[in-house]
């Protein structure tokens, strides 16, 4: 009787250590893997954020380039909606070629185009304008900019400030 009880106790304690070790090992590996997943997620997010910031930089540089062109060669278009630029360009002796170069450009390796230009506060003496640029390469991001305009010269306008309105997603 005593011997059978002793044998049963021995049988119960056998195989106890291995499942415990396996469970502990799995727990450790799972928790460290989840930590690594968290680190990888953080790194991916940072890389995505950095790429977005670089796109913002490219578009902001493009906006500065575009505003410089509009303030110089294309000053007569500052108060005109982009849809009416061809007629306005004819009125201020801008050739079709010059108008085409005013609607696109390049910053570094990226090319961009003017997606929209809308004067604010009534044409032709607008007090501001909204400029929208779009990258033409693999990532077709759009960004908006608000220009503050002021009267200059007999019938002209000049840009006095530019404000970034941020990225507006990927265009068609």
């Amino acid at each position: 009787m005593l011997r059978s009880v002793h044998r049963r106790r021995r049988r119960d304690s056998e195989g106890f250590a291995l499942p415990l070790a396996v469970a502990g090992a799995l727990l450790l590996l799972l928790s460290s893997s989840s930590l690594q997943m968290l680190a990888l997620h953080h790194r991916t997010q940072l890389a995505r954020q950095q790429q977005r910031l670089q796109i913002e930089d490219t578009l902001a540089s493009a906006a500065h380039q575009q505003v410089a062109r509009l303030a110089g060669q294309g000053a007569c278009l500052l108060g005109v909606n982009q849809t009416r630029w061809p007629e306005a360009a004819a009125g201020c002796a801008l050739s079709a070629e010059a108008l085409a170069t005013l609607q696109q450009g390049q910053v570094g390796a990226e090319t961009y185009r003017v997606a929209a230009y809308r004067p604010l506060g009534g044409e032709p003496q607008a007090t501001g304008a909204e400029l929208e640029l779009q990258l033409s390469g693999s990532h077709r991001w759009r960004a908006g900019y608000r220009l503050s305009l002021a009267p200059a010269g007999p019938a002209g306008l000049q840009v006095i400030a530019m404000q970034e309105l941020g990225l507006r997603g990927v265009g068609a």
Partner: protein, 160 residues
Amino acid sequence: MNLVEVIVASSLFLSACGGAAQIGSSSAQAMAQSRSRSGAMESIEVQLLAVNPVLRVSDPQGDAHDGPAHDCSGAARWMQQQLAAALPPLPPGVHRQISLAEAGDQVVLVLQAPDGLRRERRYSPAAFGLCGGFGAAAPAEQPAQPSAVQPIQEPGDALL
């Protein structure tokens, strides 16, 4: 519980401990790198955010000028000087370079952190009303010499 079972269980547990420690330390290292990268990104962003207020300080409408500044190169040189003088100090490890574009009519601001983080922006004086076609105003103080054509480079560590 026999000896074989104890040996197998303990070796399994110990190897799992070793693996977990390795994965944990590499994760901690990656997190620390991400944190420092994130910090560098923030300090670079602060620099970029400071550009517009620095350049808007001079009011081209209010200043007295001899005439319109059709030449944007002079205004770009002035902008380069202004930015070099007024941008906030750099944190350690971040480098800043303020130079003129090849055509001389834009300022190129490059900010670099040691782990490969690099941001570059180009600024036109025309976007601040400092030059342009129709009666645009010139900046308040034009530098006398075009010496600023040389890039102005500032390492963050040098300021500490």
